[in-house]
Each structure stands twice: as structure tokens, then as C-alpha cells.
């Protein structure tokens, strides 16, 4: 999952912040036409079949097993690497073998940033290695590194107040974790704000509520006319250590070495596989996640889980020989972590088809036990979804909240296409996010089955229902 502040995508970031702070449950004030209610309810037996097959039948545990096989085989799948393209080929080939329709990769031009080797060493007041992860798009340092005194600040406000101390220094941000949406701004724009005041590098406290000496990576961005300086995240443990040392008046000297480098853009692919619609194949419901990951851990949670509940939703439907009137399309986005790169290009290239998009779904905030969906759509869409949620009762009390904060599909939602993301019990999501701990240990077989069933059932009902969902005026539903 990616949230940042780069200007062109400020909208997405606002959604992230917005949702995390004031997301609201959808109230049940729905008055749908009686025949529509009847039609939705008539999908009950089909939904039950899907849930049974996924939870107790031949697919029980399959999403976990399939995901483990995939992430164990490929490991992390960073944009610009051969392993990402190999993983894409694996999905394409398996999708063809499974008899899915329209299986293909759609080219996307993607950035090519390479971490290189990196280290940070506290030299004064005592020698200590500082675990770190450089941030995506950061420049590197000279080979001998940058050695400078550090100024530790707890906030952007403090940085501003102490502007005269900053020139020539390494700025260490020891900001508290408030929420991801709010706190990630330090990772996104910490380097620019420090560089504006003359800093030579920025070290940012990892954006997480809990750490076991765990550095987190993620994206940062530079601004025009501001000197680019290297930026990395250090652990909460070391940021607070440096904070205490600074509070005691100790002089802090750090050496930072980063081999990070940006290369010319390269090519990747979004992965598409369909169950073609029986009567209106040009119309589609999309289930999606992103296939790329950061270059740490296994990308199991971010976003292996998302792509596998999407893919396995199609596999379950195919296995049950369930074909809807409209197409059910799985998309695995590429280069999400470097700024929604694959999704932006795909959706731009397919803008003419927006009117055919019935509903777009995504999972990119973890695949823990589901709580429902977080959606954007007008009142009617919300009411239809609410009625569909009732069919999912065997999975528990599935609810809706609004708006959607799903990142990749946000371009569609902005264009008026109704859609939304998985809402799940992801309180611990940011423990693992963008770290070496993003592995299969963070995934649970039953939760994955539930999410696969939810994606399969919702996408099927919406793809088969007689009504074309109304699109929305974005401004009316998302703020």
C-alpha cells in the first residue's frame, strides 16, 4: 500500500488521510425497489455455494497455500527487477492453464530505482550501527558517505523553529506515530523540508506504531528547485535513542552511506485475466491488487494477499462453473509502490471504457479477517452493496464504510466509477508494512479464505445483476 504526498497524486494521499481519520460507517437508510431487493436476495444460494467451496470445500486453505508457494518462490518483487517480470509470467501462464479468458500483460513504463548497499553509523557520542532502509527515489551518498552532526526534531514545526541550526546537518525526524495517513508525511516530504533549510541528509523514524528494531522503507519525493538529499528510515528504537541523546545536550555525529541509484525507466506489465461475461462481456467488475512489492520481506501482506484473493476469487468461480452476465476481471497492478504507476497508465489507456465499468474492487490494506468493504459510490450503489453484504452473513457481520481509500482504483473512482476496497481487521498492518517482516507469518489461512469468498461473491453478484450501477459525481461522495 502506497500513500504519499507527491503533488500529482495528492488526491490519493488525501483519501488515505481522510479515511483513516474520519471514515464513517454507512447508515442503513436504504429504500431499494422491491424487485431489486428480490433480485439481490435471489443470489443467496449462489453466494452460499461460493462460500462453502471456499471455506470448507476444495478451496479451503488454497489461497494461503497458493500465496505461500508464490512468495516463497519469488520473494520480494520490486519494480525494475527480473524477478517481478518472472512472477508476472508465472501468473500469466497459470491463468492460461486455468482456462481464464483474455489473459495478457499490458505494458507499463515504470521507474527503475535500485537501493544498493547502505549503512548508517552513529560515531558520537558512541559508536553504534543504526539499522536503516533507504527510501524509494532517494539519491545515494558519495562512496565514503556523508558524515555530519545531526539535529533531532520531533516535528516539522520544530524543524522550522530551529531553521538556523539545520545547514550542513543531518536532520533526524523523531516524530511520534499518530496515524499512518498523518505520520507518513515525514517519510514523504521530510527530505525536501530539511533540504530547504540546508540539511545534507534526512533520517526519518519508521512509520509504525510498534517495532522490534524494524526499519520500514517506502517512497519519498523531491521537489523542483530544492536540492536533492539522501533519505532513509531508521528504527523507532534508534530515533528515540538519538532523541534522548540530543535532549541531554550530547553532540551527535552520524555517517550515512547509501548506494541508491535511479536508472532510466524500464518496462513492466499489469496482469489481466477474465471470466468473460455471458451476455455483456464488454462490461466488467474488477477485482485487483498489486503484484509488485518493496524489495524487503516477501511482499506477502503488501500485496501478495490482495492479488491472491483476487485471483483465487476467479479460480473459485471458474471451478464452480459460475459465469456472470458481465465480465469478472482480475487485475494485478505493477509498480504500485513507486506511485501507482501501473494503475495510472492502465486506467488512462482504458478511459474510454469507463462507462462499462460496473464496479472496481481492490485489496491493499492487508488480508486479515474481513469486516466488509469500504466503498465510494452514490446512495443507490451503497444500498445495493448493503443488501449484498447480508448475503455474506456466513462470513460474519459484513459492513460497509465510506469512502474507499483503495489506492490503485482511485483513478476510476475519481472518474465516477463506483468501487471500493477490502475492509479488514488490519490493526497490526503497519507493524509489517514495507519491512522484512512482511512474510507469510503475517497471513492466516482462514482469513484469506474469507476474503477470497467475499471477493468472489461480491464480484459475481455485481457482474450478474440486471442493473448497471449508476456512476457518481466524485465530489458528492468522497468528501
Amino acid at each position: 500500500m502506497w500513500c504519499s504526498t507527491i503533488n500529482s497524486l495528492i488526491f490519493v494521499w488525501l483519501l488515505c488521510v481522510h479515511s483513516m481519520i474520519i471514515a464513517q460507517h454507512v447508515e442503513d437508510n436504504c429504500y431499494l425497489p422491491h424487485n431489486l431487493i428480490e433480485e439481490i436476495d435471489s443470489y443467496g444460494p449462489a453466494v452460499q455455494r461460493i462460500i462453502n467451496e471456499t471455506m470448507q470445500g476444495s478451496f479451503k486453505g488454497a489461497t494461503w497455500e497458493d500465496l505461500a508457494t508464490f512468495v516463497d518462490k519469488f520473494g520480494p518483487r520490486f519494480t525494475g527487477t527480473k524477478v517481478l517480470e518472472d512472477a508476472i509470467d508465472y501468473v500469466l501462464n497459470k491463468s492460461i492453464d486455468l482456462g481464464l479468458d483474455n489473459v495478457h500483460g499490458e505494458p507499463a513504463t515504470v521507474p527503475h530505482w535500485v537501493r544498493g548497499s547502505e549503512s548508517a553509523t552513529l560515531l558520537q557520542p558512541r559508536q553504534k550501527d543504526l539499522a536503516l532502509l533507504g527510501l524509494g527515489y532517494s539519491i545515494g551518498t558519495p562512496e565514503e558517505g556523508i558524515t555530519a552532526n545531526a539535529v533531532v526534531v520531533n516535528s516539522f514545526a520544530e524543524l522550522k523553529k530551529r531553521a538556523d541550526e539545520i545547514p550542513g546537518k543531518i536532520v533526524v525526524y523523531n516524530q511520534k506515530f499518530v496515524s499512518y495517513g498523518e505520520t507518513v508525511e515525514y517519510r514523504g516530504s521530510g527530505a525536501v523540508r530539511a533540504a530547504e533549510l540546508g540539511a545534507v541528509a534526512a533520517l526519518i523514524r519508521s512509520v509504525t506504531p510498534f517495532s522490534l528494531y524494524t526499519p520500514h522503507t517506502g517512497m519519498m519525493s523531491y521537489a523542483e528547485n530544492v536540492t536533492k538529499i539522501p533519505a532513509a528510515c531508521i528504527t523507532v528504537e534508534d530515533a528515540t535513542l538519538l532523541g534522548r541523546m540530543a535532549d541531554r545536550g550530547e553532540t551527535i555525529v552520524i555517517n550515512l552511506k547509501m548506494g541508491a541509484k535511479s536508472y532510466p525507466d524500464t518496462q513492466s506489465r499489469n496482469v489481466i485475466a477474465d471470466i468473460a461475461g455471458s451476455s455483456a462481456p464488454e462490461k466488467a467488475v474488477v477485482v485487483s491488487g498489486h503484484i509488485d512489492s518493496w524489495d524487503v520481506g516477501q511482499g506477502a501482506l503488501d500485496d501478495g494477499g490482495g492479488i491472491f484473493i483476487s485471483w483465487n476469487a476467479l479460480k473459485v468461480l471458474k471451478h464452480l462453473d459460475i459465469r456472470a452476465r458481465r465480465t469478472i476481471r482480475m487485475i494485478m497492478w505493477t509498480a504500485e509502490e513507486l506511485g501507482l504507476i501501473g494503475a495510472e497508465q492502465y486506467i488512462r489507456n482504458h478511459a474510454a471504457e469507463n462507462g462499462n465499468m460496473q464496479f472496481v474492487m481492490e485489496s491493499d490494506f492487508g488480508t486479515f479477517a474481513p469486516m466488509g468493504l469500504e466503498i465510494s459510490g452514490n446512495e443507490m450503489v451503497q444500498c445495493i452493496l448493503q443488501r449484498i453484504m447480508r448475503l455474506l452473513a456466513p462470513l460474519g457481520d459484513m459492513q460497509l464504510k465510506s469512502p474507499s481509500t483503495a489506492p490503485d482504483i482511485s483513478f476510476w473512482i475519481k472518474a465516477g466509477v463506483p468501487g471500493g476496497g477490502l475492509w479488514n481487521r488490519n490493526e497490526k498492518y503497519f507493524y509489517y508494512h514495507h519491512t522484512n517482516a512482511d512474510t507469510m507469518l503475517a497471513e492466516n489461512p482462514k482469513a484469506l479464505d474469507m476474503n477470497t469468498a467475499l471477493f468472489a461473491a461480491v464480484s459475481y453478484v455485481l457482474a450478474d445483476i440486471s442493473l448497471d450501477l449508476p456512476q457518481h459525481n466524485f465530489s458528492s461522495v468522497s468528501h
Copy 2:
């Protein structure tokens, strides 16, 4: 905190296992003489003063601050390092400045093991770095490392069954975490058991119920007439990954490099500081913890917290000008992590004084919010302690359980001296134990204050009470 299986100390290990599995609360079937009850209860006002001064008075937050200053200054304090001896000097000098009595270091001969640089790389089925921490006392590898196929086993039973596969292999133990006492046997004797079957190295899943890609170190031991092979702990994430790869029939090849080396024994010191008794200074109550730590993290929890609640208990009493009839002695043990080395020598050297030991206390299982004490002593001792616990009501409902599992003081307890350790809410203790995450983030100011108050109050009452506590026949109280 150290628990292992080396033969000479099997007793301590049994205590560890025993307590973690069948520790029982002490029942309230006490019939103390009326005048003894009255005497204990008469300490109520003094205990209240101690608690007030620690929790709300001039010592509020002091244990956290003092501990942070110490661990931030020195970092980890591994046996055989100059930094441990510097830390010992720091405590000695401060204790003299504070006006404590009998301040001195008592020499102890200690092992000198050095980790050196270390790495493990998965070469097949795909290339991947495996985070690791070599185990204390392990031998190193040749410079180019050991490259061998790996056999992954889930238990010693499986190792035995697959004995014919082991020669020439690296054994990877992917044992589940059951409890520390039970599971740590893999760390302690995994190398020996693998070497007996011809393995060339052992990689053990870190002994923890929760991981964020966190390797844990700790002690291992070799056995006579069994070839010494290198041993290290890898993360739960990588152990389970290797387990899944093996289950899929994949060939696993690993390169292990360890620069570990043992040097001739060297010298360290146990740290002693007293508040001398007013009328029976030769008799003593001991509060203690160990000053050495593993060479990772800050040794804040293991066992910075233990030594600082002990030291600050004396500081509070000194500040309040409270002097008991008997001596209250703080001891900071050295070289605990390498096998209770300092404590064993101290207690052997002072065996003649055992009869003067009124009660011995220790904190080495974390300094989270206190729940009471875990003690060894006969019925009368237990009943006296139970009555004293009532005086601590301002700290919450303090309880007793039995037996004591405190490691360093176990030599005294075995000799019949009543004593015990802090019982605290340490459910997450093993998240941090022997890792880089053992830092001040794992410590809480209020919990530390409560523990300091508890140690100060209990040690004062027991040091001042008219009755010499009866010693026990060890076999009658600990099993």
C-alpha cells in the same frame, strides 16, 4: 535472563521449565503468631512513605530516567568487553557519590567469547540473506564459511528419525514455540544433538512467540566427545520459509559464515553496594539483577531494569534516611548471560555467610508492571511474605507464587536461603529477549517506579523485622 541445559547447571534450567509450566499461586492458609502479624502491619506507614516517594515524590520516573541514561551511554554490556567494565565503574563511582556503604567490585573470572562478523545466505532454491545471531560459545566457521545442503526438522524426534540424512548437512530446527523453558532446549543443545548425527552446523529458529524478522541470540553448549559445530539462531520467518521449501521437496543449500571465537578467560566484577544495618550489619537482605547483557540491543530489559530497580530501591531508602536493622545489599551480577558466572563465584566465595542471609531477591524476567513475587521458602516465610504483600496494596493486588525461578540467586535458594524474584506482567518479554529490540522502548516509567517501590519496601521490611527468617530444606519447597 539465562536458561540453558548445560549439565552443571541443569538444576537452574529445571527450575525455569518447572516454574513456567506448573507455577502455582501460594494459598492463603497462614496462621502467623499474632505479635508477628502486628509487627509486620506496623511497617505500613514506612511502606506507604516509600511508595509515595517513589510513585509521586522525588523519585517519580527516576528509575526510567536513570536506566535510560545508563543504557544510552553504554549500550549493550557484553562479558569480556571494556564497555561492561566501564559500566561497572560508573555504578561503583555513582554509588560512592550517593553515600552507599561497602561499595566495591568483587572479582570474577569470566569467559571471553566474541561474536565476530557473521552471515547466512540461502543459495538454493533461490538466493536470500538469512538474518542470524550466532550463539554464545559457538565456534566459528572457516573464512569462506560452510556451504552445505540443509535438512529442516520440526523436533528432536524428527531429527532422530531422519538420522541417516544428517551427515554432512546443516540442520535447521523449525521447532514451534511452546514455552521458553521447553523450547529453549533447541537453542541450548540443538548443535550437540545435530553433531552427534554428523551435521556440520545448526541453525535454530529463534525462541520467541512473536517476530518482526527478529533474530534472538543466547547461550548454547557443547558436550564432551561430540564434535563442535557452529550454531546460530535465524528468524521465525526464515525458519518457517525453509520449512515450507523443504516440505515442497526443494533442495536447500545454505552458506554460513561465523567469525565467532573464544579467548582465554578474563576478569570482571560483581558490583556490591549496601545500606549497612544499624544493629546487625552482618545479616543482609539482597536485591539484585545482572549488569552484563548480550551484545545486541541495549540490555534495557535484560537486565538493565533488574539492576536499576535494585539500585534505585537503595537510593530511595537512602534518600528517605531509612536504615534497617540488617544490611540491605544491592548486587549487580556479572556474566550472567554466559552461565550465571558471576553469581556462582560470589555465592561460592561467601558460602560461609549463608546463615546471615535473611532473604535474597532478584529481577531478571522483565520489569513490566509488577504482580508480586515468586518465592522459595518454607511455609512461615511464605506466610510472612504474604502479610507483607498486603502492605503493598497501593501498588495493586500483589500476590505470591512459588517456587522462585530467579537464576542468579538460585545457588542461595538451593542452599536453603529463602528468596525470590519479581513476578511481573511479562507476557511480551520474549518478544525482546536477546535481540536488538531490547531497548528503552520495552520499558515503562510507571512500571519501573512500581517495581522500585516493591523492591525497596520488601527489602526494608525483611531487613528490619525482629525475626530471622527460617531457612528451608531445599527439596521440601521447590518441587
